[in-house]
Symmetry: C2
Subunit: 211 residues, 2 copies
DNA sequence: CCCGATAGTTTCGATACGCTATCATCTTCC
DNA sequence: GGAAGATGATAGCGTATCGAAACTATCGGG
């Protein structure tokens, strides 16, 4: 009685994956007119959210899964627009840090992604928390499969020490953490739980993944 | 005692929005080598999932939020690769329908998005269902804010009549629905519930949104 | 039959994006 | 001090994507 759906057996997981891509496209398409390009918006958001020692072109290239050359171009365009300020590091003469200018912070308030995040604000509270957690799990797992870097915050990073509430210490930066850096993105982030152990096989063995 | 986070007050909804974009980027980046481009993958998926009267360049351009010209190019490239078959409509001499070829169906099995959907398969069942529902709600809401078209299936479409289980009738196509078209994407989809009524204010009044 | 609207296609040009060098500078380590 | 490696910047080049505009074929009316 049921006709064979010969053309494409739809799984809900496929549907969800397609929706994610579709959502991202719709959300970014709002950029429009004189605004920034998708890559530029992503960079601006990154430099707004990364901790001080991660606000470098190299870190951004890792985050954005591109080359340092490309990342450098994107950053340059933002500096030229006056949204980022260039600053040499005192510790390492090679390294350069970029901070958002006041104009950069203002621009962020016109981020086309806000249409999406406002929709998310309209969701029931409980669902939103779980939704976010699922997204984070997926991002971790995907960053794992590609060799691409995984960015996260100190909250669940192996380098972080110290009881909750007390000033935290980061083994990696070898320094006490500033409060403002605690929930900022960090290049050196390594999740306490290794990202995707629970259900399934790991396709690649550990060798070759981190080289 | 708490330092002012002067540089960017992070909301969880912003984080979620950024993660969606990031996920989409990572998922699509897997295309690599001799494979298709992101736009081509999206088109191939669309023509695999849309019902027979929606598998047209115009419908795809609406779905992909682009122009008919651009959509036509993307489709052409897929025909040249032998992944889509071109077919005139008997009802309307202007309209042209594209169906996946056997090669097209084979290509879909190498869709880079499967890395993401496989991760989704690893999620706990309950969470996945809710995750999907949230995504759909967001897609509907976002398609609403842009004037972009909203695609969905007969399940919750106003045009669909008939008790569950019985063969359904679509007022819009003026025809009884084939089983295979029931859960396929449709251009004429109009959600029963008007997309984004429940929780919040509508920023734009109805005028101006649909012009 | 003519007119306006629609579907599809094509051409043209602009832009975004990305990669691969290549280079200069600086650090680190021997 | 010198070699090796890392960081950032830049130039050159290719491709993806896109939109506007022009064009054809068809449909639907009057």
């Amino acid at each position: 009685m049921i006709a064979i759906r010969y053309h494409y057996r739809m799984k809900t997981s496929d549907l969800a994956a397609e929706l994610i891509v579709h959502l991202a496209r719709l959300a970014q398409s709002g950029a429009g007119e004189g605004a920034l390009t998708p890559a530029q918006w992503t960079a601006l958001r990154f430099f707004a959210r990364a901790n001080s020692h991660s606000r470098t072109p190299s870190a951004f290239s890792a985050f954005h899964a591109t080359t340092r050359g490309t990342a450098s171009q994107t950053v340059k365009s933002l500096v030229e627009r006056g949204l980022l300020a260039r600053q040499r590091s005192e510790l390492d003469g090679r390294s350069i840090r970029f901070d958002l200018t006041e104009a950069g912070r203002r621009a962020l308030r016109r981020d086309p992604l806000q249409a999406l995040s406002r929709l998310l604000d309209g969701l029931p509270e409980a669902g939103r928390a779980q939704f976010l957690e699922t997204l984070q799990r997926l991002a971790g797992g995907l960053a794992d499969r590609r060799e691409s870097a995984n960015f996260g915050t100190c909250a669940d990073c192996v380098h972080c020490e110290g009881a909750t509430g007390a000033p935290a210490y980061c083994r990696c930066m070898d320094n006490t953490l500033l409060t403002e850096d605690m929930d900022a993105l960090c290049v050196d982030y390594r999740p306490v739980v290794p990202a995707e152990a629970p259900p399934m096989l790991r396709l690649r063995s550990t060798s070759g993944a981190d080289q």
